[in-house]
C-alpha cells in the first residue's frame, strides 16, 4: 500500500507553518467524524449518502498524496452511485492507512 505524505501541503504552504497546522488540525478533527458517518451510512445501505461522504474523503486522500488510492476511491464512489458497494474493502484499507498517518502527525 502506498504511503501518505505531506508533499502537497508543504508545497502549498511555502513554509507557512500556520497553514500547515490549520490543515492538519482540520484533518485530525474531520477524518474520524467522516469515518463514523461513512460506516453508519454503509451499514444502513444508504449508498447515496455513502457516496457523498466518500466524495469528501476523496479530497483528503488526494491532498495526502495517495494517488492510487484516489483512483480506487473514485471507482468506489461511482459504484455506490450505481447502487452497489463493490470496492468497499479496498476503500476501507485506504481509510485505515490515512487514519494511521494523520494520527501520528
Amino acid at each position: 500500500m502506498e504511503t501518505a505524505n505531506l508533499t502537497y501541503i508543504k508545497n502549498l504552504s511555502g513554509g507557512d507553518i500556520s497553514f500547515e497546522e490549520k490543515i492538519i488540525t482540520i484533518l485530525k478533527s474531520e477524518l474520524p467524524e467522516e469515518q463514523k458517518t461513512y460506516f453508519f451510512c454503509l451499514q444502513n445501505k444508504n449508498y447515496k449518502d455513502t457516496a457523498e461522504i466518500v466524495h469528501k474523503l476523496k479530497h483528503k486522500i488526494s491532498i495526502l498524496g495517495l494517488k492510487k488510492s484516489y483512483q480506487i476511491a473514485v471507482e468506489f464512489e461511482e459504484n455506490l452511485l450505481k447502487g452497489n458497494a463493490m470496492g468497499k474493502d479496498d476503500f476501507e484499507k485506504i481509510l485505515m492507512n490515512m487514519t494511521k498517518f494523520v494520527e501520528q502527525l
Binding site: L12, I23, E30, K56, H59, I63
Partner: protein, 235 residues
C-alpha cells in the same frame, strides 16, 4: 480583485484561501460552506470572482449559478472532471480547476480571470462604493428599481419619459436623456441620436446611418456619427 470561496469542505476552502494568499491584489473577502449563505452575501455585496465547488449536498454549484442575478466571473473547483462540459455552457465560468489544485494551474487560472475582467471593465467591483456605479436606480411607481448598467443596451427618449431597455425588461421612467447620460459610464455608452443612447458593447452591426442593437434598428444622426466611428475598434 475581490473573491469569495464556496465549498462545503473546510480543507478545500483552506487550501484555496492559501492559494489566493500568494496572489498579489487578490483578496478573499469571505468563505462559505454552502451556496445559500453565499447568495445572501451576494445580495448585498459584489465581488470580482467566485471560486465555486460544484459538488455540494442539497444545493449544487450549478443550482447556485442559476440563482445569480448578476453574472460574476466564476472559477469552478471540483474533484469531478465530468462537469467540465456543462460548466463551460455558462459564459461567466472562466475556468475549471480539478482538485487537488496545483499552484501553477491556479496561477494560470487567475491570469484568465484578470483577462476576463479587463474585457468587461464595468463588472469590476472592489468596494461597496463602486457598486453604485455598476447599478442605476430608477423611480417607477414610487419604487426604486435597481438596474445593472451593463445590461442596458438602449435608452430611448419618449416625450417626458425615457425607455430604458435591457435584455430582460424595458423600464419606462419619467426622466430625460440628458439626466441619464450623466449617470452612465462614458466608456460604455454613446449618444447616437438626439433620442437615443446606446451601449456600445451591445452593437451587432452598423449599416449606413443605422445601428442594429439587439433587435432594434436605431438611426445614427449625422452629428453623432463621427464620434461613434471614432469609438469603434475599426480594422
Amino acid at each position: 480583485m475581490n473573491c469569495i470561496i464556496i465549498d462545503d469542505e473546510s480543507t478545500a476552502r483552506t487550501i484555496l484561501a492559501q492559494l489566493c494568499k500568494n496572489v498579489p491584489d487578490l483578496l478573499v473577502v469571505d468563505e462559505f460552506p454552502n451556496a445559500l449563505q453565499a447568495i445572501k452575501f451576494l445580495n448585498e455585496n459584489q465581488v470580482d470572482l467566485i471560486f465555486l465547488d460544484i459538488h455540494m449536498p442539497d444545493f449544487s454549484g450549478f443550482d447556485f449559478i442559476k440563482t445569480l442575478k448578476k453574472p460574476t466571473n466564476i472559477v469552478v473547483t471540483t474533484s469531478d472532471k465530468g462537469y467540465a462540459l456543462e460548466a463551460f455552457e455558462y459564459d461567466f465560468i472562466v475556468d475549471y480547476l480539478v482538485k487537488p489544485i496545483q499552484i501553477e494551474r491556479f496561477e494560470k487560472s487567475i491570469k484568465k480571470v484578470e483577462k476576463a475582467i479587463e474585457t468587461k471593465p464595468t463588472r469590476k467591483a472592489t468596494s461597496g462604493q463602486e457598486n453604485v456605479e455598476n447599478d442605476l436606480y430608477v423611480n417607477i411607481d414610487r419604487r426604486l428599481i435597481k438596474i445593472d448598467i451593463s445590461s442596458i443596451y438602449l435608452i430611448e427618449a419618449k416625450g417626458d419619459y425615457i425607455n430604458v431597455k435591457t435584455q430582460e425588461k424595458n423600464y419606462i421612467v419619467h426622466s430625460t436623456l440628458k439626466k441619464i447620460e450623466q449617470k452612465l459610464p462614458d466608456s460604455l455608452f454613446i449618444k447616437i441620436h438626439r433620442s437615443y443612447i446606446i451601449n456600445i458593447d451591445k452593437i451587432i452591426d452598423i449599416e449606413d446611418n443605422s445601428v442594429l442593437i439587439e433587435k432594434d434598428v436605431i438611426p445614427v444622426s449625422r452629428l453623432c456619427r463621427p464620434e461613434l466611428m471614432r469609438r469603434l475598434n475599426l480594422l
